[in-house]
């Protein structure tokens, strides 16, 4: 375990060595941003809408008491969406979509000698392959989380409109009531940390792949599993520290 941790830290250090040519790396960062950000927008939109709607309906169901104002449901749904569902569920989904893609892409490059080809040319392979992915993930995943929060709350509103469990007016009043900006800060810190964990862990697994197609698949699976575990652990730590 310590050996792997050491290798991971050394790889990270190599990844952030001075680039051979900044413009080439910048182009790579932009390409990764499009791939991670735009490429994941669809899945994030779908899960956020449905989770937002389902959360609102479930909270309304649990609060079906004449003693509790139904606007509380909007408030609970808002805080749950901002603090937990949007950053953490999105990150877990992105670990599957983005993480597996990073691990399998780098792993395939390793087993087909493309990484060797980079090294022969004098290119710092970890820097060229990994740092743009980490930068793009740490930039785009927070933006995706903001989109997810917006759509999650929209999903809750739509659930109110179509299910009639709470009136849309009560939901909006609850969403507006006692809003604390700290919750958004917590969500963004989580998103940045999760972005780093997904990209760096999956890149590490891909970079040290050896063998063939089977091992590339195994690296991808390991990358996703380890990322998910670390996301949940980091979620707990950040929540404990910031709230």
């Amino acid at each position: 375990m310590f050996h792997s941790l050491g290798k991971y830290l050394l790889l990270l250090r190599l990844s952030f060595r001075k680039p051979e040519k900044f413009s080439v790396y910048w182009a790579e960062v932009m390409r990764e941003m499009v791939s991670i950000g735009i490429g994941s927008l669809g899945i994030i939109a779908i899960i956020s809408l449905f989770i937002g709607a389902a959360t609102t309906i479930q909270v309304a169901f649990q609060l079906s008491s004449p003693l509790v104002s139904m606007s509380i449901a909007g408030k609970i749904a808002r805080d749950s969406t901002i603090l937990e569902f949007s950053p953490t569920i999105s990150a877990l989904v992105l670990a599957g979509r983005v993480g597996s893609s990073i691990a399998s892409q780098i792993g395939t490059m390793r087993v087909t000698e493309q990484i060797d080809a980079l090294e022969i040319m004098g290119v710092n392979a970890p820097g060229y392959l990994i740092s743009p992915k980490i930068i793009a993930s740490m930039t785009m995943i927070p933006l995706l989380v903001i989109v997810s929060i917006t759509l999650g709350l929209t999903g809750g509103y739509l659930a109110c409109v179509f299910s009639g469990d709470i009136t849309p007016g009560d939901y909006i009043a609850g969403v507006r009531d006692g809003f604390d900006g700290l919750t958004v800060q917590v969500a963004l810190v989580k998103a940045i940390v999760f972005g780093f964990l997904i990209s760096s862990i999956c890149a590490y697994q891909g970079f040290y792949t050896s063998g063939g197609a089977l091992e590339v698949g195994q690296s991808s699976t390991k990358g996703v599993v380890y990322s998910c575990v670390m996301i949940l652990f980091a979620d707990l730590v950040i929540t404990r520290i910031m709230l």
């Binding site: 087909t112 000698e113 080809a117 090294e119 022969i120 040319m121 004098g122 710092n124």
Partner: protein, 250 residues
């Protein structure tokens, strides 16, 4: 010139290379031959720095490459071109982008100059007009030729070639050999080729090193190979009946 001195490479308990020394001259095709598992590719990887030798040194034009760190190696690496066994073209890039990749990173040429160089390299390997194709759209022989075009894009002093004929039909194999031979003469490169293809050995083997069980077993040229009484080399080179018949006519 490339010089290797007393190269050893060990993986765990396994001694893959045991004290190999040799020198490779510019303008010549230097072939490293040997059976499967003899250490040919490991030796090539030790020379280019993809593996660090357990013991021994590699010198490029008198400079000790083994002692250098990553940054110190970069100026030498920009003079190295390598064709990999499976070509190792970047899947996400077109043919043109593959060839221009080292130019983008290590030169200050304008886009037009880089494009001109890429077109020249493609013409040189008879692939003009294939600029916009992706590696997945190319045949095995075309991939090798794009690999060569990429390897020569920086006008290297040293060309390393790993199994250039693997997976190719005999006619394409000979085309690739001829191309490597022409380029070596034209640019006076020090070319090191790892192969176990006997057509290559007999066709372009100006300087041959035969490895057996991780040791240098024989050194000479293709002209000398038929006359050698080295048993392991004879067993290797003249393993097929066709080669035995050819030897008897020499």
């Amino acid at each position: 010139m490339i010089e290797i001195k007393d190269i050893h490479k060990t993986f765990g308990e396994n001694d893959v290379l045991r004290g190999i020394s040799a020198s490779f001259q510019p303008g010549k095709n230097n072939l490293i031959i040997g059976g499967s598992g003899s250490g040919k590719t490991t030796l090539l990887k030790c020379i280019v720095g993809l593996h660090e030798p357990t013991k021994g040194d590699v010198f490029f034009a008198g400079e000790n490459f083994t002692d250098m760190n990553f940054e110190q190696r970069v100026p030498i690496r920009t003079h190295i071109g390598m064709l990999f066994q499976n070509s190792a073209l970047f899947d996400s890039m077109t043919v043109e982008e593959n060839i221009m990749f080292p130019l983008n990173l290590f030169t200050k040429k304008t886009q037009a100059e880089k494009l001109e160089r890429a077109n020249f390299c493609l013409e040189r390997v008879n692939l003009e007009g294939k600029n916009k194709l992706y590696p997945a759209e190319l045949s095995g022989g075309m991939k090798k030729r794009v690999g060569i075009a990429r390897a020569i894009s920086m006008q290297p002093k040293y060309l390393f070639v790993d199994e250039p004929n693997s997976g190719l039909d005999p006619k394409t194999s000979i085309l690739i050999d001829d191309l490597i031979n022409e380029l070596t003469e034209e640019y006076q490169m020090t070319t090191v080729i790892v192969t176990h293809d006997m057509n290559s050995v007999m066709g372009i083997g100006e300087h041959i090193i035969f490895l057996h069980n991780g040791e240098k077993w024989w050194e000479g040229s293709n002209k000398e190979i038929a006359k050698t009484d080295n048993k392991e080399l004879n067993d290797f080179v003249f393993a097929s009946k066709f080669m035995q018949a050819a030897k008897s006519k020499l």
